[in-house]
């Protein structure tokens, strides 16, 4: 599905990627960018909610383990902010069920465990944007 044409529904959307691991961020930008997304990357947890407000993205991809503030905190604040209904895809490397439960309880739209397949990621982002 990675080579799926950018249909009208997939349209030029904007993704905000919040991820502190540089290599992972590079990979995700590459994958989503090739699928036609405008990807903005942000590395820090503390300023992440402000970044969401500034970029007004169609989808947020959010890592849990961030310097400064955890992804859970960021999610909580985003859900209270001006873009409360933005779809959020959470990524975590811890792989524990309680993290998933917590993320969903806090209002994550989807949850993925690292490592993931690029195709799944791209499809998930497209799904979220289509809602």
């Amino acid at each position: 599905m990675t080579d799926a044409p950018s249909g009208p529904e997939a349209g030029p959307g904007r993704v905000l990627l919040i991820e502190d691991e540089e290599n992972i961020a590079t990979a995700i930008r590459f994958v989503l960018g090739r699928a036609g997304w405008h990807v903005a990357a942000h590395h820090d947890g503390t300023t992440a909610p402000a970044a969401v407000a500034r970029h007004a993205p169609d989808v947020v991809v959010l890592d849990v383990m961030l310097p400064g503030r955890s992804g859970f905190d960021v999610l909580q604040e985003v859900r209270r902010g001006p873009h409360a209904d933005v779809p959020v895809l959470m990524l975590t490397a811890k792989g524990q069920a309680k993290d998933r439960d917590r993320a969903m309880a806090l209002g994550a739209t989807r949850f993925m465990t690292k490592p993931f397949s690029n195709a799944e990621l791209a499809e998930a982002v497209r799904d979220l944007a289509g809602r």
Binding site: P67, Q96, P115
Partner: protein, 891 residues
């Protein structure tokens, strides 16, 4: 038959042995629950302890010296027994109901259980009675001396043996057990026998004198008529005074109170005694005058006190003399035994036991052990002390006026209790302070006017008495307040007058304490019918019993019990009548819950109308102590349980904490492993798809390689720390220079990474040699140098390595010139996965410093953050030689 002292002593011993046998027999009967030897006759005979050796021998001497005045000694008790019948009956009834143990107990109990009054009366009794006991010892030795002749020293030392023997007898039969009712079957029986012996002896001597020496009653009467003995001497004042004193003695002397009240078996026995005892006294004085008259005529110039003995001896009637001697002996011993017992009871109950309780109380609340045993021991010691004191008094004053005149003086002294005693039974307004003021003032006057003059010239300087203290004439004992006349009458009037006046005045001026108000009606308003448990129902009390029983057994059980009792009595729906059967069953039932003594005290107090005595309270205290001890043990166990629970909870919390730490650690490990895996997988997929530029391919492959290395390093570290923490590290020790280790480390740390870090070292200091595991030590340095290379944020990053050699080891500081580690983070840097700070610094799983700490520990050294150095700084301490045999136990 010739009477030698040895024979006399032998007869005495046989007589005493017989008394022991009688006492044993009576005790045995009583213990087996037989009706015993008690009864009106025995009771009456036991009252004869009034007739001591002073009466037996001394009445004749008194008559020989002062004529018929001796009769007052018999008239007083007779008048009290007949004329004061009502008050006497009340005294006995109250004494029995309140389970009074002595006259001191009576006074103390009536006036609000005052401990002070108990002590005062006890001391008064001791002062008044001890010389009197000494008098008995003297009479026995003096009578022995009559037989022994001139070598009287032997007889004199006999007093000690007599005192010891009497102490033994009293201890044996007086303190065998701590009776709740203080009755001593053995002693009373022996005294009754002695009463008979002395009466028979005196009557026999009298009969011999009248019919043997005078030739018939008519001749004897004629002899009396012409003799001065038959004269009425002394004024009416002296007669009245003497009758008053001896009348008071019948209730106030400790021994008389003991036989009259404490040992009283049944109240109705007093009715018999009230006519039988005066008859006994009449018989005792029947032949006093003939003996005195005959003695004066036949044995002029000899001691009239011993006519009872010397007349038969003069007539060579040695058997009769022996009987007379035994009579005197009986009089003396019965008095000594009862007096010692009564005094010992007072001393132990009012002086020794309170002191003991006070001392124990101070030592802590956990009283244990048998209080009864202590009480008995105290009483035995008191008996020995009383008799020892009397013997001492006899030794120091024997044969002097101090002893001879002490009989009447003691009577007057003890009569000081009379006002308080009468007020106790008749006047509810009498207060503790009033009683104390009365007794103390009377006691003081008596001591000064009557007791002190006895010792004039010996213990007391004669001048003091002749001129009065401080030269104040009107304070002279002989003419106190200027009152002249018969010294006895003056002393009696003064002491008893002041005593009674102060008692009334102070009582009117003071208010009774609540305890006194509680006690007063029990003594003054005694119901006419004596409380009895002989089968009659006692009306009131069932309600109180039910209330008390409920408190102990609980409402349901108590009501069920009473309902069952009422049904069995044929009165369903009502409260049962408090029959003795009910009381007994109830007492047994309650005893199971609160102990026998407490149950008995409760039931006696509520149902039977009897009071709770000292021994009851002692027994209750003993039981309470046991309960306290048990509950203390339970408390200790509860405390132990609580502690164990706390320890368990703590262990549990520690386990939970460990579990959480393990979870957190696994989460960290998972995160650290999955993060490089994510990059590797993503770029692998990207590369597989193809279509990338050469530069992109090379970049993606480089990332995959870096992340693979990171993964490998992490796995190595994880394994390493696992091994280090488990303690299964094998050290390869060898001697190396520090420089060689640091060389290796710097090369390894800086060659792999593209770094601008420079390392400043001190080659001279690093030349130090040490025994260590060089690979492990190098691992520490590699970590620290690599960290500096990775995290030092200075424009020209530099790491300075300073080495110092000290006697106790080597100190190496590694300091970079970056911005250092924030103080808050310094505490956690040595923990696993405590990766700090910079988001851009990729890799660097937080195991490095944790591993360093483990390694340094294994090498016998340490690693710490070194604050205040500007940049990040670490201090390593190393021993000169790591001990080879270090048992690498986990920390």
């Amino acid at each position: 038959m010739t009477l030698t002292p040895n024979l006399l002593v032998g007869v005495c011993l046989a007589y005493v042995a017989a008394l022991f046998a009688i006492a044993f027999y009576a005790e045995g009967r009583a213990r087996r629950g037989r009706p015993g030897l008690r009864g009106p006759l025995i009771y009456t005979l036991s009252l004869s302890v009034y007739c001591t050796a002073w009466t037996f021998y001394g009445a004749v001497g008194y008559a020989a010296r002062s004529g018929l005045e001796f009769m007052t000694i018999y008239l007083g008790p007779t008048l009290v027994l007949i004329g004061w019948w009502t008050l006497l009956r009340k005294l006995v009834r109250v004494g029995r109901a309140e389970r009074v143990t002595s006259i001191a107990d009576m006074i103390s109990s009536r006036f609000g259980k005052s401990a002070a009054l108990g002590v005062i009366v006890t001391l008064l009794a001791l002062v008044g009675t001890t010389p009197y006991i000494a008098l008995q010892l003297q009479s026995v030795t003096a009578s022995l001396a009559v037989f022994a002749g001139p070598e009287a020293t032997e007889a004199r030392s006999g007093a000690l043996w007599i005192a010891a023997g009497l102490a033994l007898f009293t201890i044996l039969f007086g303190t065998r057990r701590l009776d709740v009712d203080e009755r001593h079957e053995g002693i009373v029986s022996a005294i009754a026998v002695e009463a008979v012996v002395k009466l028979v002896a005196l009557l026999a001597v009298g009969a011999y004198v009248v019919w043997g020496l005078n030739g018939g009653a008519r001749a004897a009467l004629e002899a009396i008529r012409v003799s001065p003995v038959a004269d009425w001497t002394g004024g009416p004042g002296r007669w009245a005074g003497l009758i008053l004193v001896s009348g008071a003695a019948i209730v106030c002397l400790p021994r008389m109170f003991h036989v009259l009240v404490v040992e009283a078996p049944e109240e109705r026995d007093l009715a018999t005694a009230s006519w039988a005892f005066p008859l006994y006294l009449l018989a005792m004085c029947l032949f006093v005058v003939p003996i005195a008259v005959t003695g004066l005529r036949m044995l002029p110039g000899t001691n009239p006190d011993l006519f009872v003995l010397t007349l038969p001896l003069a007539g060579e009637r040695e058997g009769l003399a022996m009987l007379a001697f035994l009579g005197g002996f009986s009089s003396a011993t019965s008095m000594v035994i009862v007096a010692a017992l009564a005094l010992a009871t007072m001393l132990s109950n009012h002086v020794v036991m309170p002191a003991w309780f006070a001392l124990r109380g101070a030592g802590g609340a956990t009283i244990s052990g048998d209080v009864r045993a202590v009480a008995l021991t105290a009483r035995r010691l008191a008996i020995v002390a009383v008799l020892g004191l009397a013997w001492l008094y006899y030794r120091t004053t024997g044969g002097t006026a101090a002893l001879a005149s002490i009989g009447l003086i003691a009577f007057v002294g003890l009569a000081q209790v009379l006002p308080a005693l009468v007020a106790a039974l008749t006047w509810k307004g009498a207060t503790r302070a009033g009683a104390a003021a009365g007794i103390l003032s009377g006691f003081a006057i008596w001591a000064w006017v009557m007791l002190v003059p006895v010792f004039a010239g010996s213990l007391v300087p004669a001048g003091l008495l002749a001129q009065g203290p401080f030269g104040v004439g009107w304070l002279r004992p002989e003419a106190m307040f200027g009152l002249a006349g018969d010294p006895l009458v003056v002393a009696l009037m003064l002491s008893l007058g002041l005593n009674a006046t102060l008692l009334c005045l102070v009582s009117l001026l003071t208010r009774p304490t609540p305890m006194e108000m509680l006690q007063a009606p029990r003594f003054v308003d005694l119901p006419v019918a004596a409380p009895s448990r002989d089968g009659r129902a006692v009306g009131p009390g069932a309600q109180e019993l039910l209330v008390a029983t409920q408190r102990i057994l609980g409402a349901d059980e108590a009501q069920a019990l009473f309902a069952a009792e009422a049904r069995s009595q044929g009165r369903p729906g009502e409260l049962p009548a408090t029959t003795p059967a009910l009381l007994d069953r109830l007492e047994r039932r309650l005893a199971g819950s609160v102990g026998a003594a407490t149950a008995h005290a409760m039931i006696s107090g509520l149902g039977g109308g009897q009071a709770v005595g000292v021994e009851d309270l002692i027994a209750v205290a003993d039981e309470t102590a046991q309960v306290l001890e048990t509950s203390a043990r339970l408390e200790a166990r509860t405390e132990e349980l609580r502690r164990t629970t706390a320890e368990l909870r703590e262990a549990n919390a520690a386990l939970t904490r460990l579990g959480r730490q393990k979870d957190a650690f696994l989460g960290q490990v998972s995160h650290e492993l999955r993060t490089p895996m994510t990059s590797i997988r993503a770029f692998s997929e990207i590369l597989r798809e193809g279509g990338h530029s050469e530069a992109d391919r090379a970049r993606f492959a480089g990332i995959i390689l870096d992340e693979s290395r990171r993964l490998t390093r992490l796995l190595d570290d994880l394994l390493d720390i696992g091994v280090l923490e488990s303690g299964q590290v094998e050290l390869a020790l060898e001697e190396v220079t520090l420089a060689s280790v640091i060389d290796r480390a710097v090369t390894a740390a800086t060659s792999q990474v593209d770094t601008r870090l420079t390392v400043t070292r001190d080659p001279a200091a690093e030349g130090v040699a040490l025994v260590t595991d060089p690979d492990r030590l190098a691992q520490v340095f590699i970590n620290l140098v690599a960290n500096a290379a990775k995290y030092c944020d200075a424009p020209a990053p530099d790491l300075t390595i300073r080495t110092a050699t000290r006697p106790d080891g080597i100190v190496v500081d590694l300091i970079d010139n970056g911005s250092g580690i924030a103080p808050a983070d310094r505490a956690v840097i040595f923990q696993k996965f405590a990766r700090l700070g910079d988001p851009t610094a990729a890799g660097g799983a937080g195991l490095g410093l944790a591993i360093c700490r483990e390694v340094m520990g294994r090498l016998g050294g340490s690693i710490d953050y070194l604050a205040g150095q500007g940049g990040a700084a670490f201090r390593l301490r190393l021993p000169h030689a790591t001990p080879a045999a270090t048992e690498l136990a986990a920390e």
